[in-house]
Subunit: 339 residues, 2 copies
DNA sequence: CTGAAAGCGCTTACAG
DNA sequence: CTGAAAGCGCTTACAG
């Protein structure tokens, strides 16, 4: 395993100069640079990341912290898309990706250990129901961070998220344009999550544009699982004046609604129109295929990684929030209101 | 950020002794050990992994290499389960997990870079259609490796996989017991993969037990995607004497079959029985719920990580293959042959 | 443009 | 059971 000394010796220069070539310092003559490059190639040299890390500089490792909540996250292909995006961008920039699925019970220690061991050049947090708590471990140490989500409040920086407001607005407007007025809402959890709040804001804006008020009887709060969608549908669809359309704040809950509707003999979209959110693969496979709003998981991952890498490169700690567009995807689960 | 010197000073001992406590060396008096432990706690000390790595010892990082093939892997929740298992076991043993999704175009260089930079204590390879090529980068350097899959040949060590043979055997036997004789097979790709071979072995054993030969007209080769299942079903179900049952070698292809059957107006399981493989969440959501064989993704991940960590701890390079049991899961997509 | 030297925070023989 | 000292492979002021 060749070291920087071997390269220096072969190229007949000092290790200082080799190091300069490694870090692309400008002030090296073209001739020596080439000699060094040749030596590195010949020896198949690649610098020890451990040594680089020790010197206090860079470890070239980015952390991706996913607060682990089995039911909510796993089985959610959206997560896989985000991971893929982060990994791809990291790799393209010669960074490695450390994946940490923080468990509820020991996440504190895992975070602290990671951070104290000075192993990460920066960290990306995937915001979920559980998250938001342990970030200070990194922030206190001035480790650059990026959030996929909304951060602590809407104004807080360093986050990238999809345009949840717009997505919900378009979804509900779509139902309104089809003539629906009794629109049920299957909401995500009411606490914590800004994404849920934003989807509510979009929902309310759309209703307001039609001078409609929200009917509390048509609202249910779930936890993003299929089961919770099923439960809420059981309740909403049993009402005497049941909704003619439902907007579910994610696809998995929408599929739960679909399942309950089928049990009740309700045809979708004939008797009930249904819109989801996320556009997970499942939504295409459902029968009928689910009308939904695509959330760009891969792009969110790429963007967060990109922003973080820029932060590291420039020695900054803050970037302005980035909002990525969503895409409304009409499929077969919505239809005009029957007269 | 406390260093080992700070701890040593506070505990009034040498760094050597602190280091010994860190590595759980036995020969330290209980009294000094406690003094040191107290000092570490007070200073919130945690050792610099970079320094540890430099000393040539351990980096406490495990690599998970997933040859990246978007269509095949992503959107496959099985992958997420495996990752979860690996991460969980790594974390429980104070290892970190470096995730690398090797792309076809640059996987060579990414592998080489990782390995040469001496960043990994060990590597887990997830075997897929693409893999098997770049392992030598690590093996040549005596970096401990584990494979989730079959490795280079059936006898090769260091691999952990599910009992594909048994799973296929039970799936096909189930269909035979229901009275089916014209059984179609939707196979995975015929090249490379031992898992596919093993599922074939199981299939043939089951048929042989009923003195049946395989009818080549009833076989199609797909690539594990839903679309390929759909294509093959189009062909198999068009035949004059169409199969009365189909065994698909994974769930996604089975869902493709299901979709095509529905288009043709065939009732499942009334007109066609269907069995899949893997037990991805989708198989429960399908209508009817899919009879399948559960592959223990999480357990595969845990076991591979466990074995790898043992290898590292003992300084070994080889372990005997581990076969994890599968579970046959009867649901609603299979029924007795109509008379 | 180039190099000598110190130092990053550990671990590991080696002595005692 | 405990410690002094060398060394792991880099980078970074600092000189020249």
């Amino acid at each position: 395993m060749a070291t920087i000394y071997d390269v220096a010796k072969l190229a007949e220069v000092s290790t200082t100069t080799v190091s300069k070539v490694l870090s692309n310092t400008p002030y090296v003559s073209a001739k020596t640079r080439e000699k060094i490059l040749a030596a590195m190639a010949e020896l198949k040299y690649s610098p020890s990341l451990a040594a680089r890390g020790l010197t206090g500089n860079r470890t070239y490792i980015l952390g991706l912290v996913v607060p682990y909540d089995p039911d909510y996250l796993f089985g959610d292909p959206f997560l896989l898309e985000v991971i893929r995006g982060v990994e791809s961008c990291a790799n393209n920039n010669d960074y490695n990706l450390l994946l940490s699925l923080a468990r509820k019970d020991n996440q504190r220690s895992a975070y602290a250990r990671l951070q104290r061991s000075r192993y990460l050049d920066g960290v990306i947090f995937l915001e979920t129901l559980q998250s938001g708590v342990e970030v200070h471990y990194f922030e206190e140490q001035n480790v650059p961070c990026a959030f996929i989500g909304y951060g602590k409040n809407l104004e807080s920086g360093n986050c990238v998220h999809a345009d949840d407001y717009r997505g919900a607005f378009e979804a509900v407007t779509h139902l309104l344009e089809l003539g629906h007025r009794r629109i049920g809402i299957v909401s995500g959890p009411s606490n914590f999550m800004y994404a849920v709040n934003e989807r509510w804001r979009g929902t309310n804006s759309a209703l307001a544009a039609y001078n409609l008020d929200l009917d509390d009887c048509l609202v249910g709060y779930g936890d993003f699982t299929l089961e919770s969608g099923y439960q809420i549908a059981t309740q909403l669809l049993a009402a005497e004046t049941r909704p003619t359309a439902i907007f579910a704040q994610n696809d998995r809950m929408a599929v739960g609604v679909m399942r309950r509707a089928r049990e009740l003999g309700l045809n979708i979209p004939g008797d009930l129109s249904l819109v989801g959110f996320d556009d997970v693969p499942l939504s295409q496979l459902a029968e009928p295929a689910l009308t939904t709003v695509r959330q760009p998981g891969y792009e969110l991952g790429v963007t967060a990684a990109q922003k973080l890498i820029e932060l590291i490169a420039w020695g900054n700690l803050k970037f302005e929030p980035v909002v990525l567009p969503v895409e409304f995807i009409p499929r077969n689960s919505t239809a005009p209101l029957k007269p």
